[in-house]
């Protein structure tokens, strides 16, 4: 963390008396923080507290909550097989993201590189899905994944290649994978951009020097480039995990969490039981559980990466 004293005594210039300066600075700092803090407390902190409150009620969302039930909602959620399935699905999405999506983003970032002619065009193309809305992405991929080879392009290609068609979204074993493909399409560009910005800052001389010393491209990548990219990688892993825990719109539109909960995420579970079925106390409890999971992950992650300001390297 950068530390610089508010009253830099190193200064030789005449300055106002220390006390008055400190008060003024305090006021200045407060003024700089005020707009953000006001909005943040109003629209985030207060809602979090309110959600904690609601989560202790059996409340259908109509009028004030009156049926206090303590931690019963939490007990019910944690003993619900469907919620556990959702947690499991989220874990699968996280593992796939870390094992497939992020390496893919890295590969493309390295290929686009720093000096390839036309790299700007590729960067723009790869970031395009991130610019489009999630609703957009979900509708497009639903059409692509249609089980009927005449309607779904992916199955059309599979059949043309002599392979059997797959009922992507209707098959409980592959639906999560289909969702993951969509998420990858939508988000890898963002991660690639993070890596690219990191790559831009690695001086070419270092790699040149290594090459002179006889390192091949792979050694160069694993021993030189990758360690120097540790900061954007930390950021992208963090963003990816939080994003997976909170994943909602794409799944909700494409499958609604089905068939039979096979693609349920915690957020679709929250939405179905909290919103659609008017159990807002229960839904609030799911929200709080998701929130706690994110906090726990952040704390562990900070410890693991030993960098309190894990995002500052972006």
């Amino acid at each position: 963390m950068q530390s610089f004293p508010t009253s830099p005594n190193v200064s030789k210039n005449p300055r106002p008396p220390l006390l008055s300066r400190k008060t003024k600075d305090g006021l200045g700092i407060a003024l700089f923080l005020a707009p953000a803090l006001i909005l943040f407390v109003l629209f985030l902190i207060y809602p979090i507290i309110r959600s904690v409150y609601y989560s202790t009620f059996n409340w259908n969302g109509l009028g004030p909550a009156t049926k206090y039930i303590g931690i019963n909602n939490y007990i019910k959620i944690l003993s619900d097989k469907v919620f556990m399935q959702a947690v499991q699905n989220v874990l699968v999405i996280i593992v796939c993201s870390l094992a497939i999506q992020l390496p893919l983003a890295m590969l493309l970032a390295v290929l686009v590189g720093r000096d390839l002619p036309g790299r700007g065009i590729f960067r723009t193309i790869f970031f395009l899905p991130y610019v489009l809305s999630e609703v957009n992405a979900a509708i497009m991929w639903m059409l692509l994944f249609n089980a009927n080879p005449q309607r779904g392009l992916i199955n059309g290609v599979l059949v043309a290649l002599g392979l059997p068609a797959v009922a992507w979204l209707a098959d409980m074993r592959v639906v999560l994978f289909a969702i993951f493909i969509t998420l990858t399409w939508k988000y890898f560009g963002f991660h690639m951009l993070l890596y690219l910005t990191g790559l831009q800052n690695i001086p070419t001389e270092i790699e040149e020097a290594a090459r002179m010393d006889g390192a091949n491209a792979f050694q160069n990548f694993f021993y030189i480039t990758l360690p120097l990219l540790s900061s954007p990688i930390r950021t992208s892993v963090y963003m990816s995990v939080l994003g997976s825990i909170q994943q909602f719109i794409v799944v909700w539109i494409m499958t609604g969490g089905g068939p039979v909960n096979a693609s349920e995420t915690m957020a679709t579970y929250m939405y179905r039981f909290g919103f659609v079925r008017f159990q807002l106390g229960y839904g609030s409890a799911v929200t709080i559980i998701m929130f706690i999971l994110c906090v726990i992950f952040s704390l562990i992650y900070q410890q693991l990466t030993k960098k309190p300001d894990y995002l500052t390297g972006l």
Partner: protein, 434 residues
Amino acid sequence: MRNKLFKLVSILMIAMFVLAAAPAPAVYAAPAKADKVKITWWHISTKDPALSDWKKMADDYMKAHPNVEIEITVLENEAFKTKLTTVMQSGEVPDIFQSWGGAGLSEQIDAGLLKDITADLDANNGEWRKTFAPAALAVFAKDGKNYGVPWDMGAVTWWYNKDLFAKAKIDKEPATWSEFLADVKKLKDAGITPISVGEGHTWTGMHIWSYLATRIGGEKAFKAALDRSGSFADPAFVKAGEELKKLIDMKPFQEGFLSATHDEMQATFGNGEAAMELGGQWSPSVQAANSKDKKGVKNLGMFGFPAVEGGAGDGSDVVGGGNGFAIGKNASPEAIDFVKYLTNKDNQTIIAASGTGIPVVAGAEAGLKDPNMKMVQKTFASAKYFQLYYDQFLPSLVGGAINDNVQKLFAGTASPEEVAKAIEASAAENITKK
């Protein structure tokens, strides 16, 4: 310098807010002019002709009643539900809004969000009440009190493609469940996909189960399960699952039916790629809209859900539903008068004529032009027992449990007994004994 900075920042922020506020300075803040009564109305008819029809009715009413101002908010179905849920938690409720009746309405009544309009219906010797079909009006009532009125009510029935039936050499509509299953087999043998279903939207397949339950157990079994003298694990409901499983085991559905949406189900049938589908009064219009040539099935037929041999239910019993308007707790007498206007015979005839809905006011059915709609109307009108869709009628958690668990039958992940037990577990927890 510092002052300059703050000035600049504050000017920027003020500018930003002014910019944001400019186009809409007074939409919310300004109360309706003292002499004007404001009515808020939320409906979900996003498309023409209904969209313009409603608008015109409101305009005409405002012209005739200069003291009334009607503010219409048109929302898409899902968005409407999300928004309504959000505003209701803070006790806010529009004066007039879309409702499907059933448990959703009942929960709003219990929360004191709706207005009792029984007296308005009964005024002048029940003048207004008498205009409605009783079964349709009952959908918006609880414990003998009315909180809303219907404007469309229909039935879920089998729609079929006559050409495909002829191709499979089926010469008459099945009257019993075993005939139905035999026809499914004939269709399969002829290389035709018998049924289009959209289990991505679980309620589409749930209707097959609920109809079977209605045919097998009749009104009695359902009412018993409801007042808790019986249960959803009773033999009638298990048997419904078993019969449905017989059908599912024949693999009669299109490819990818487990994730197909309701729109895709209608498109499959509308394009003539499946011989039958179970759907409500809206089916023919959606089939056409989603089909390649925008015309839908050329020779469309309809038959009621076949009777199950030995079942307690009558073959004319109907599962169905429709649309209505609920009246918010703060609704003014003007708002109620406006709803009365919306559902009068003339306006109901307009709704019928444009194919927006099946009218519920006596005499307006004459406006129906579409022969398919006339058939649905007759089916509804001749029902001795009318059952609102299970997932609408039952508390939302129980309705949800039915949809979720029946889907397991379609996916082959649970047995009929397990399905019935899971539904009963939810019912035991969420239906209070009367």
